[in-house]
Amino acid sequence: MSLDGHGVDWAASLAEAEDHLAAATYDLILLDIMLPDGDGRDFLAAHRRAKRDTPVIVMTARSAVSDRVALLDTGADDYVTKPFDFNELEARVRAVLRRRGGAAQTLQTYADLTFDPLTATLTVAGEARELRNRELRLFEILLAGPDRIFSKTQLVDRLFSAAESVTDNAIEVYVGRLRRKLEGSRARIETVRGVGYRLTQS
């Protein structure tokens, strides 16, 4: 997770988690149901009773629909079934954060464009352009490291599920789409031959 640029604090037990939560505020809690010192559900129930509304995504080995319903009823925002794909988790995290919205979300600017992560909209010269799915994800990755070169493999790892086999020019397709969306602004995606891509501005 930290590879993606998130700040992560890891607690190995409910007790530790309590300590962390007491010390700082978090944007999101990833909760494993089976913990060495107790059932995650009890923690979740207690968390909600204490009126803490930090979003929680539960990780569980149970995939039964009844469990999902129960977890959501207890107060989880979403859940992933183990084993899960990182990108799926990432997608769900983004969805939960987007839903929760609020002050945490601020507009981002780069060069002469503004990007609203909440609505996934790029504003270029006053024109709003919507980014969808993978092209949105690609832009977010590139935007997280401006002028940083991302290799094709790195991009593939982040855009596609680890299990998917990807065609050679799959990245080119999305880069192409994104370039079209960036037209008219000084921001552009530069192909670094043999190395990768980077977001830069001219």
Partner: protein, 448 residues
């Protein structure tokens, strides 16, 4: 059970009749024999030996007493030294002459009727020489037959009365015994499918063991069921936990290397892990569905919000695969009575399949509308389609299409949907979509 009791009562009554008849017969015969014997002895005792011969004096009472029981014909024969001196000289002699002083009895036919003969033997001294005297007294037994018949008929009437009373009692008993059992059965039958509480209603003493056994059974059953549920959960956990760490390690390794060969291997590994996890998941799902189709807990469900909620939960996944999820709401609300968990299982399977088999940039449409008394939920995609394989084959357990080898699935998904549709009393259709893709249509009976 009542029939059996009546049968037993009937047999007992018949036995009563027969035994009374037989007892009456021997009682009357014994009595008559006694009187007959007494008459014979009365004559025998009056025999006197004199110088000239044996004098026979038949006392009036000897014959008069024979009229005591009824109007039977009387015959007699007295033989002195083997010669008949008086009486009916063709009255049959006994086969075995009596020994000792007591009379013997035998039955013969005489003058067209069955008679009972009593024979007594005496030795009388005539001029100092012992002379044998045989006294036979016989009587018809028509009266005996009459008495026996009368007693037997009375017994028959008694038996019939007894039978009637026994029959009434049997029916009353049967009813009073069966009634609490029936009430108990009704009470248990009225319970919901998940109600395994012990039976607490008061029951008659005799049903105590039954109720205790029933409660014991229910306890074991609910224990077994909860153990099954626990097992399913534990199995899920035990399979997935090691798979999880394996996958995580692989994914981390994938992100840390640029070597294409290594990456290909790692990807293959991850796909295997996902395959196992998915198989396990679907097996457990299937088991859970089977369990629930037997033990449905039904509730009234507002259909569209449920469908929409499910679709929403798939959006992150769809996003990841660059697939558009589109929903088409019905013009009016619809409710049905069904098991929520089963229903969600089925719809999730359909949506999951549609997303899985779609191409990038694909569109999956989910809609709901009313058709007569049925709710029609449809999931259409523009994905790989069924490529000629018949839908019915796909719905057989573990059967997968020929065009989906690189997509992870265990082949149970559609089977689950079909079973859920059947359990709800609805229908499921799967077919090729015109222009490419698949149409999955689920029909469920509405409650309004």
């Amino acid at each position: 059970m009542v029939i059996q009791l009546l049968l037993v009562a009937a047999i007992l009554s018949a036995l009563l009749y027969l035994s009374v008849r037989s007892v009456a017969f021997s009682a009357v015969e014994t009595t008559q024999d006694r009187i007959l014997g007494a008459a014979t002895l009365a004559i025998a005792e009056e025999l006197r030996g004199g110088a000239e011969g044996v004098s026979v004096d038949i006392p009036y009472a000897a014959f008069s007493m024979l009229g005591a029981i009824g109007e039977d014909r009387v015959f007699y024969r007295i033989l002195i030294a083997g010669e008949t001196v008086t009486g009916y000289d063709d009255l049959p002699l006994p086969e075995n002459p009596p020994e000792g002083l007591d009379p013997t009895f035998y039955s013969v036919a005489y003058q067209g009727e069955k008679v009972r003969v009593s024979a007594a033997y005496r030795s009388v001294l005539v001029a100092r020489k012992p002379t044998e005297v045989l006294v036979l007294v016989a009587q018809t037994r028509s009266v005996q037959a009459e008495i026996v018949a009368r007693l037997a008929n009375q017994a028959a009437a008694l038996g019939l009365g007894f039978f009637a009373v026994a029959a009434l009692l049997s029916i009353a008993t049967g009813r009073s015994v069966l009634q609490p059992v029936q009430r108990l059965a009704e009470a248990v039958g009225r319970r919901g499918p998940n109600d395994l509480r012990p039976v607490a209603r008061p029951v008659p003493e005799e049903l105590g063991p039954l109720v205790a056994a029933l409660n014991g059974f229910m306890m074991r059953l609910s224990g077994a069921l909860s153990r099954t549920e626990t097992f399913i959960a534990e199995a899920a956990h035990h399979i997935r936990t090691p798979l999880t760490s394996l996958r995580m390690q692989a994914e981390i390794a994938l992100r840390q290397t640029e070597d294409e060969e290594v990456r290909k291997t790692l990807r293959a590994m991850i796909r295997s892990v996902d395959d196992s996890a998915r198989s396990a998941g679907q097996l457990l799902d299937h088991a859970a569905v089977i369990y629930r189709t037997d033990q449905r807990s039904e509730e009234t469900i507002d259909l569209w919000p449920l469908v929409e909620g499910l679709v929403d939960s798939f959006r992150p996944l769809a996003e990841m695969r660059d697939v558009e999820l589109h929903t088409i709401a019905p013009p009016e609300g619809m409710t049905l009575v069904a098991d929520r968990v089963l229903l969600e299982s089925a719809i999730r399977n359909l949506v999951d399949n549609a997303i899985k088999y779609s191409f990038a940039d694909g569109l999956v449409e989910v809609g709901l509308h009313r058709e007569g008394q049925m709710a029609h939920i449809w999931v259409h995609d523009r994905g790989r389609g069924l490529s000629g394989v018949r839908a019915s084959e796909l719905m057989v357990r573990f059967q997968r299409g020929s065009n989906v080898e690189d997509v992870i699935g265990s082949g149970l998904g559609l089977t689950i949907v079909r079973e859920v549709a059947a359990a709800a009393g609805g229908n499921f259709k799967l077919g090729e979509r015109e222009g490419g893709g698949t149409c999955a249509d689920l029909y469920l009976p509405l409650s309004d």
